[in-house]
């Protein structure tokens, strides 16, 4: 506890550079060689392994672990990248506790799964650190595909199409490619500029041009893209954020969690990033946890996550809840924001208890708050002419939209969980479908 942590308001420099460096270092550093061998040895090499089924990209997990066990991490990396070109990022950010590791037979038997995520990182890091790209591009087909969005869905789709010999141009609204890998994922999951390094490494396949600062709907028209290309893939994620619709929301201090995290991820000197002494985060997903934990790591004294339903309904996994709790974040369940108080600036958040039916019980209470983050879910910013389903782009098969020649995948498309790995899988599968359609099924 430093003096500056007790200063009210939203201010920078609550912690010194050393504390901040320590706080934002790698959550799970790469295994050493020996650690990896021991961890790999725990894998039973199951028949028709449940972990493979649980992985949205169907990585042959027992095979890559066996390759690590026999001292061939590059072969292991290749096994991973064949199915998931962003296997390096996924190794860091996948909620493995609800995916592959949840169904590991050793999790079921002993509550201690094979550490698949960390083994995946061990393998992918070694090949990426050597700067080696495992694939070569097929001869140029002369076909051109436009991809909108350089997030995991777009990058995965682009890589697969380029590998098959098509020419790809990726358009992205932001200044840097990577999507939420660059602007959203918690800093401690992917420190050291990994997101950009991974994009650079991925682009080594060749045949991909990235145009940043190009926004569909603002200067870039879908129709024009369709005219100039043989196919279009939309991987635009969810750019919109909902408001709480509360009185006092216009007071300074009520921010959007995603914007806060994006600012954090782009800030080179974290001593310059302001944070409140008392922070309240509204929401119950990964974004809420990441905003809360990173607030704590920046030096906020009191951080509370306020979620409207019971703990067992919280979208953030138990592992993430524990991560938050271990950083001293308080979790409050069954509450919704009722009002924001303060004259000149935000001073207090008033929360109201609700029942399972979301009906207020009548009881409210106030928490001191200099800063409030909304993490109540992101929304699609619709693209004109494309049919929606439940607020997202409607798709059939491997990402075919209502418009001929336009595919979509990742968070913006209906179906599947909003996860990096799901975006990668959908981008890859759409690429195979695009390829099939461009080659008349002569894959």
């Amino acid at each position: 506890m430093t003096e500056t942590m007790r200063l009210d308001g939203i201010r920078a420099g609550r912690l010194g550079p050393e504390d901040l460096t320590r706080n934002f270092s790698d959550l799970h550093p790469r295994f050493s060689d020996h650690e990896a061998l021991v961890a790999a040895d725990r894998c039973y090499f199951c028949h028709d392994a449940p972990c493979v089924t649980a992985c949205p990209t169907d990585i042959d997990i027992p095979l890559f672990i066996r390759q690590i066990a026999t001292g061939m991490e590059d072969a292991a990396a290749r096994t991973i990248f064949q199915q998931n070109i962003l296997g390096g990022m996924c190794a860091r950010v996948c909620p493995t506790e609800t995916l592959c590791e949840e169904v590991c037979v050793r999790q079921v038997a002993e509550g201690k799964p094979v550490e698949i995520g960390r083994l995946q990182r061990f393998a992918t890091d070694s090949m990426m650190a050597a700067g080696e790209h495992p694939f070569t591009r097929a001869p140029e087909t002369g076909r051109r595909v436009a991809i909108v969005g350089a997030g995991p869905a777009g990058l995965s789709c682009a890589h697969r199409l380029a590998m098959l010999g098509h020419s790809v141009t990726i358009y992205d609204a932001r200044a840097k490619p990577g999507g939420l890998n660059e602007y959203g994922i918690a800093e401690y999951k992917t420190p050291g500029g990994f997101a950009q390094a991974e994009v650079d490494w991925l682009l080594k396949i060749g045949g991909i041009t990235v145009e940043t600062g190009r926004t569909i709907g603002a200067g870039l028209a879908l129709e024009a893209l369709r005219n100039d290309h043989d196919a279009v893939f939309l991987g635009i994620g969810l750019g919109g954020v909902g408001a709480l619709g509360l009185e006092g929301e216009a007071l300074g201090g009520a921010d959007n969690a995603v914007d806060f995290i994006a600012a954090l991820r782009q800030q080179d000197d974290l001593t310059q990033l302001p944070i409140g002494r008392n922070v309240v985060v509204i929401g119950g997903g990964m974004t809420a946890v990441d905003a809360a934990v990173q607030s704590k790591l920046l030096g906020a004294e009191n951080v509370t996550i306020a979620y409207r339903r019971a703990r067992d309904r919280m979208p953030a996994s138990r592992w993430e809840q524990d991560l938050a709790a271990s950083h001293g974040v308080r979790l409050v369940f069954g509450v919704v924001p009722h009002a924001l108080h303060g004259d000149d600036r935000l001073r207090e958040v008033e929360l109201a208890y609700v029942g399972p039916d979301m009906a207020p019980t009548g009881e409210t209470f106030r928490l001191p708050a200099d800063q409030l983050f909304r993490a109540i879910g992101q929304k699609l910013v619709a693209v004109e002419g494309i049919a929606l389903e439940g607020g997202k782009i409607a798709v059939t098969g491997a990402g075919r939209t209502s418009v001929e020649g336009v595919w979509a995948g990742g968070d913006c498309a209906a179906g599947g969980q909003d996860l990096t790995v799901t975006a990668v899988a959908e981008g890859r599968d759409a690429a195979m479908d695009i390829h099939a359609s461009l080659t008349d099924g002569r894959v």
Binding site: H34, L37, V38, D41, Y44, F45, C46, H47, D48, A49, P50, V105, R106, V108, A109
Partner: protein, 434 residues
């Protein structure tokens, strides 16, 4: 508390755990500390003839085979016999024996295959007060190139001859240490007995190359780009040693010949198994080299506790108890029919039994879409492979079909009375059943 005191061919020790002739017993300093740690006896590192001692390599002399987490499973060495002067060793042995009269101290000896050489060294060993000698006919590397060690142990006539000299020139117990690098271990054991040996000890190390350095293209351990075969020991050799011990224990020609068991003994259980197959004492090398002298504590406590549980008061009740149950394949009961049974509550659904049986055995395990694995009795030959590969202990069991039940695989009714190959109709040499 079970009595662990040991009387092995008249050599007494407070427990049956001896350190085998090797680096742990190379000098006074080690042996004193070993006795303080509780070892019942030591076989001193092998002595050579008077004169300039042998020299060892100055590069690596060991290589290891590891299990997970670098657990040593097997050790390979190219060390020779003691490289210290004979006189020094003899003086130290005398001092140690005088200070530890209750412990067994045995001199291991390897001198050229000439009567004069043995005649010269034996009186000097006797002067130390050592309780007996062990003839090292086992060392498979280096010394064997000079006509000693396993070069002697591989020729039964030499064994008999040298043993006879020793019995002639030495009046305390003579133990002959056998090499496993031979086709039939019973031959050298018989030779030792014929020569008058009081006991045999086995096994010494097995010819081995640990691994090949694929960059240097040379065997490991590598000395300046070259490697030589060494001797293998440690947990990996235990099954080989147990089998050889059992063959000597049940061979009519050597039946009753005392055996000191050696080879991969790492825990009390290993020791108990050697004793059950007829060993009156056991010797340990690799386990001590891997974990230090303190392992003997676990061995003593474990053996004693197990004997208490079983109601065995003395080691005599254990030694050789399993020997009558070692038999030839042809005498195994072919009417003993079992089937694998998977305990669905313990099963963790890894499917290893399925892969093993489906790909490499008898296609006798079925797999349902929800990953329930069940044995198909009509196909199961009871080979046991599923149990061997199952990661969960006791999850798969072998259940015997009762007499009168029909084996769905063969369609035959299981008979109550045993029948073996010697009477089987498919055996061309079968004797009539009655």
């Amino acid at each position: 508390m079970a009595d662990l005191t040991t009387d092995f061919v008249g050599i007494h020790s407070p427990n049956p755990f001896w350190l085998a002739s090797a680096p742990p017993t190379d000098k006074e300093y080690n042996v004193r500390r070993a006795f303080e740690a509780g070892w019942g006896g030591v076989v001193w590192k092998t002595l050579g003839a008077e004169g300039p001692p042998v020299v060892n390599v100055n590069g690596p002399r060991y290589g290891a085979i590891y299990g997970a987490d670098r657990r040593v499973l097997g050790l390979n060495n190219i060390e020779l016999i003691t490289d210290r002067p004979l006189e020094t060793n003899l003086e130290e042995m005398a001092r140690v024996k005088a200070d530890y009269p209750d412990r067994a101290l045995i001199a291991s000896i390897m001198v050229p295959c000439e009567e004069a050489a043995w005649k010269a060294i034996l009186p000097r060993v006797a002067e130390t007060g050592a309780d007996g000698i062990e003839l090292n006919f086992g060392c498979p590397h280096g010394m064997s190139e000079r006509g000693m060690g396993s070069a002697v142990g591989q020729v039964p006539e030499y064994i008999e001859m040298v043993t006879r000299w020793c019995k002639q020139y030495y009046d305390r117990p003579v133990i002959v240490k056998l090499t496993p690098n031979i086709a039939d271990i019973r031959k050298p054991a018989r030779a030792a007995r014929n020569g008058g040996a009081d006991a045999v000890s086995l096994i010494n190390t097995i010819n081995s190359i640990t691994s090949v350095d694929l960059d240097l293209m040379a065997p490991e351990p590598t000395i300046d780009g070259k490697g030589s075969h060494g001797g293998y020991c440690g947990p990996a050799v235990k099954p080989i040693a147990l089998s050889m011990v059992s063959e000597i224990a049940r061979d009519p020609a050597t039946y009753g010949l005392p055996i000191s068991g050696i080879g991969g003994i790492t825990t009390w259980r290993d020791a108990a198994e050697f004793m059950a197959l007829g060993c009156g004492s056991v010797q340990v090398c690799t386990a001590a080299m891997t974990y230090g002298f303190r392992v003997v504590e676990e061995m003593k406590a474990g053996l004693s506790r197990w004997m208490d549980e079983k109601g065995y008061a003395t080691l005599d009740e254990v030694v050789g108890r399993a020997v009558p149950n070692v038999t030839d394949w042809k005498h195994l009961n072919l009417n003993y029919v079992t089937k694998a049974r998977i305990d669905q509550d313990l099963c963790i659904k890894c499917g290893r039994c399925y892969a093993a049986c489906e790909d490499t055995s008898h296609q006798a395990i079925g797999m349902s879409p929800d990953r329930t694995f069940t044995v198909i009795d009509a196909e199961c030959v009871a080979c046991n492979l599923c149990i061997d590969v199952c990661p969960v202990e006791d999850c798969i069991d072998m259940v015997r079909l009762a007499p009168g039940e029909t084996d769905p695989r063969t369609g035959k009714v299981v008979k109550a009375e045993p029948a073996d190959w010697t009477t089987h109709p498919n055996n061309p040499g079968a004797m009539a059943a009655e």
